[in-house]
Symmetry: C2
Subunit: 221 residues, 2 copies
Amino acid sequence: MAIGDWTERFQGTAALPRSVRNRLLDNARIVRFSAGKTVFNPDNIPDSLMFLVNGTIRVSQSSEGGRDIVLYRVEAGDSCVLTTACMLAEEAYNAEGTAETDVVAVILPRPAFDRLVAEEAAFRNFVFNAYSRRLIDLLRVVDDVAFGRIDVRLAERLIALAGGNNDISATHQQLASELGTAREVISRVLQDFSKRGLIQQTRGQITMTNAMGLRAIAEST
Amino acid sequence: MAIGDWTERFQGTAALPRSVRNRLLDNARIVRFSAGKTVFNPDNIPDSLMFLVNGTIRVSQSSEGGRDIVLYRVEAGDSCVLTTACMLAEEAYNAEGTAETDVVAVILPRPAFDRLVAEEAAFRNFVFNAYSRRLIDLLRVVDDVAFGRIDVRLAERLIALAGGNNDISATHQQLASELGTAREVISRVLQDFSKRGLIQQTRGQITMTNAMGLRAIAEST
DNA sequence: GCGGTTTGGTGACAATATCACTGAAGCCAA
DNA sequence: TTGGCTTCAGTGATATTGTCACCAAACCGC
């Protein structure tokens, strides 16, 4: 399946002159990942900038002890700068990107990236913006983990994962990995939510039965 | 006091041609902060890039509950990109920079910054590198806070703060703010270290009496 | 030395994490 | 459809960390 002129879809590329965009369309390579596949990890760092055309990439960090935490998600229209970051800094990190849905992305090789950053202000701003947003996302994660209560964080995350709906498909383990905590902790908090009539649970499924109540918890200091 | 040709001191500027460096020297403004002063905070974001010529800036985040955590330190030769990040993303964050020593810095206004990034590859790399290093610093903080034990983290930090010496001037509260925990927790862990003969304490002062032992703790998984 | 302020110590209790299990739910092959 | 296997969830005991309330010691300015 062709994806057409993807340069339409990004803030940083839509504003570029036609000639530059044509050059981009020539230079970039389209890649696909099916849901669940690893997009990058510490052992396999693509030397390029990635634009996400379709789908979601979940970027998470793993501890030695086997616990995980989700750092942020890259959505369609975003670029994924963490790989670029590491490539530039030539330092180790232990974050990993996983395709959360089927993903279509565009890969721009390093030389083309360099040239574009040098020559096009719009593109440059796009890249800096992407970095900035990730920095700020991480500040939020630090704040949550260091100072947040687990019930508040879980309520927030349930609302976010439901995405307008009332249903979430996730195991307790997956929710634990979202927040960087242990499954047992999630089980207990969810049970508490359940007893208070905020949710109903079955294996792998959570239904919010009182979104207002959950929101109240999510927004309590 | 004049600081001479500061463009010598930065990777990103030392490689630039003489003409560009002269332009930099003309465009940039030198600022000084005495130890303890706030360099930036959420209410006061300088619209510019800052190069640190001398001293150290501690960048930390505060919670509503009054607890703090140190995110990273900007040392001489580094640039401070967090302000730039926020400026670009136009989003709120709640990090704050404090001069840890007397600080001499160079402020490069936004337009000059833009021009330089566009025109000079060496400068561009410097800036991207600075971003990348911060991203990676934050990944480390997330890892520590989410998965690390407090005794391990404290041992690490004591060694880092001693900086080759065996003495650290810090109150328990200050150490708590380094790690994003509470004073009481630090007091107890330090007491434990003390009983094990790893350190000696007096008010506001800690002496490492067994650096090897501390290192062993710091390096335990 | 005196009174106030900062710093550190401590017990009780709350929240979260870890460990070692148990049982329940779904899956699949015979 | 049953029985076994695997994944998922529940639970008690215990360890670690955070919170609260309070006290005592060290330091500071006078």
